[in-house]
């Protein structure tokens, strides 16, 4: 068994709550070369928009750990990425992420996989949807 159209709609349990901190926001902004942006500093900073990837990529782990799908991160290419925000992530937000498989197109050893990760506060406020297309190639065991 490996990933197929049958897995469309499968969701995984939400990731453990992650608290967005001022220090992590500053670290991420600096890594983007944007450490001087005042929005990302001060007492109550927002996170750079693409900070959402810290949460969304953590949600990928559950899918890659699903033995039924036989996926490997090292045989995966990230084809595209989209984020849609309800509001920016802020320091103090407690966020968890839930991944759903939205689309699978398997052809031979290659599968094109569409996933959607919903980021929400632990109080249930929706923050961001991160959608990705991945291209996965099965190992050459056969």
């Amino acid at each position: 068994m490996s990933i197929s159209e049958d897995h469309v709609g499968r969701s995984y349990p939400a990731t453990a709550p992650y608290e967005v901190s001022r220090a992590k926001i500053a670290e991420f902004a600096a890594a983007l070369g944007d450490g001087e942006n005042p929005a990302y500093g001060g007492a109550d900073p927002i996170a750079p928009p693409t900070f959402a990837v810290v949460l969304s990529s953590a949600a990928w782990d559950a899918m890659f750990a699903d033995p039924e799908l036989e996926l490997s991160l090292s045989r995966t290419v990230h084809v595209d990425q989209r984020f849609a925000w309800q509001r920016p992530l802020r320091s103090g937000d407690e966020v968890s992420a839930t991944l759903t498989i939205e689309k699978v197109r398997a052809r031979g050893a290659t599968a094109i996989i569409g996933i959607s990760v919903a980021l929400a506060t632990t109080a249930g406020e929706h923050l961001c949807t991160a959608t990705s297309t991945l291209m996965h190639t099965m190992g050459d065991a056969a």
Binding site: E27, A31, L32, P48, P49, V53, V77, Q81, P88
Partner: protein
């Protein structure tokens, strides 16, 4: 948040260049949690048939959005952002690799501007279909 006025279709957004070094890739790995060795290990990159270590696609994506956030003033205006990862940015052990970013307003409707961003390395696009929606209100 005050209103962004005078935004017109075809308007060019100020661009910039950034040199990506190995140190930048390691820093982004730590900040983002993406520790895939193809972003810091020559043998790991070679094992996948890559010419050298490549930058995280998300690092290029995140850097490209600065064209939009520097122009818009408040990053909270960004409603959506999407890219296709069309070509890897190869980053050698010494020196670095320059990527040039620029943007254009493509539509303005209902208080939202859509901005298209270009990311070029040696004249070749490294990101495709780079689109951000910006709240003007």
């Amino acid at each position: 948040m005050s209103t962004l006025t005078g935004v017109e279709v075809g308007q060019q957004l100020p661009g910039f260049s950034r040199t990506f070094t190995r140190a930048d890739l390691v820093r982004y790995a730590g900040a983002s949690g993406d520790f895939n060795p193809i972003h810091w290990s020559n043998p790991a990159a070679a094992a996948l048939g890559l010419p050298d270590v490549i930058a995280q696609g998300m690092l290029t994506m995140g850097t490209a959005l600065r064209v939009v956030t520097d122009w818009a003033g408040d990053p909270a205006r960004v409603r959506s952002y999407s890219v296709r990862f069309t070509k890897p940015v190869v980053v050698p052990e010494s020196g670095g690799t320059v990527v040039t970013f620029a943007g254009t307003v493509t539509t303005v409707a209902d208080g939202v501007a859509t901005v298209s961003v270009e990311a070029l390395c040696d004249g070749v696009k490294v990101l495709g279909a780079v689109t951000a929606e910006v709240d003007l209100g």
